[in-house]
């Protein structure tokens, strides 16, 4: 059974204080690993897809990396508008569904 574990559950940072969110996964053949951002009262918004170990992707202050067992979402010099819940999901080979973690709730304090 595919599993995704995200840590920490919640993270509070000062504005400008860089940190990383972790997503550990077990899957029977990884087709893709996805990062989403979810704001309160809204649906998840797609950020990145990673396909293979060693791959990295960046978008503004966010950078996602992937190993064979985990993915990190690095946030550099965050701003209050980066506050959200960040969700990680995996898709296994020969499977159309996404398995989601429970998310990390990130709060950036001005």
């Amino acid at each position: 059974e595919d599993q995704v574990t995200q840590s920490p559950e919640a993270l509070r940072l000062q504005e400008g204080e860089s940190s990383s969110l972790n997503c550990s996964y077990t899957v029977s053949g990884l087709r893709g690993l996805f990062w989403y951002r979810q704001d309160p009262g809204k649906g998840p918004e797609f950020l990145f897809t990673l396909y293979s170990a060693g791959e990295e992707k960046e978008k503004e202050r966010l950078k996602a990396t992937l190993t064979k067992k985990e993915s990190f979402l690095h946030i550099t010099a965050p701003k209050p508008e980066d506050s959200a819940t960040y969700l990680c999901a995996v898709q296994a080979d020969l499977n159309e569904k996404l398995t989601f973690g429970t998310g990390t709730r990130l709060t950036i304090i001005p």
Partner: protein
């Protein structure tokens, strides 16, 4: 407007009633999905559809029925609502088979009393 829309945004219903949540997408995406989101469980897949008239069960399908007579619509019906079905429901769509991103609607907050 282009995108994926869900209706209603909020719904309160009584135990035992039938309720249908609507989902409409304008991209002509092949795949559509229904998830529920609960504290401590994250997003869990209820049903998905690969094309019109093709549907399949996800992780938590019991008590739910779906149909997809048209590519753009994917309604979710709770045949006899129970309190355990109180949740936030999200519809999503994606274009291709494979590791492509899914786009989510705004969600429907359903309360069963």
């Amino acid at each position: 407007d282009a995108g994926i829309t869900q209706s209603p945004r909020y719904k309160i219903t009584e135990t035992g009633r039938q309720v249908t949540l609507m989902c409409h997408q304008t991209w002509s995406h092949s795949y559509m999905f229904w998830y529920r989101q609960d504290l401590g469980h994250g997003l869990r897949l209820i049903y998905y559809s690969a094309a019109a008239d093709i549907t399949d069960k996800g992780e938590v399908p019991d008590g739910y029925v779906v149909s997809r007579s048209k590519t753009e619509n994917f309604p979710l019906t709770l045949e006899s609502a129970t309190r355990s079905q109180t949740s936030v429901y999200f519809c999503a769509s994606s274009e291709f088979r494979g590791a492509t991103e899914a786009f989510f609607g705004q969600g429907t907050r359903l309360t069963v009393v």
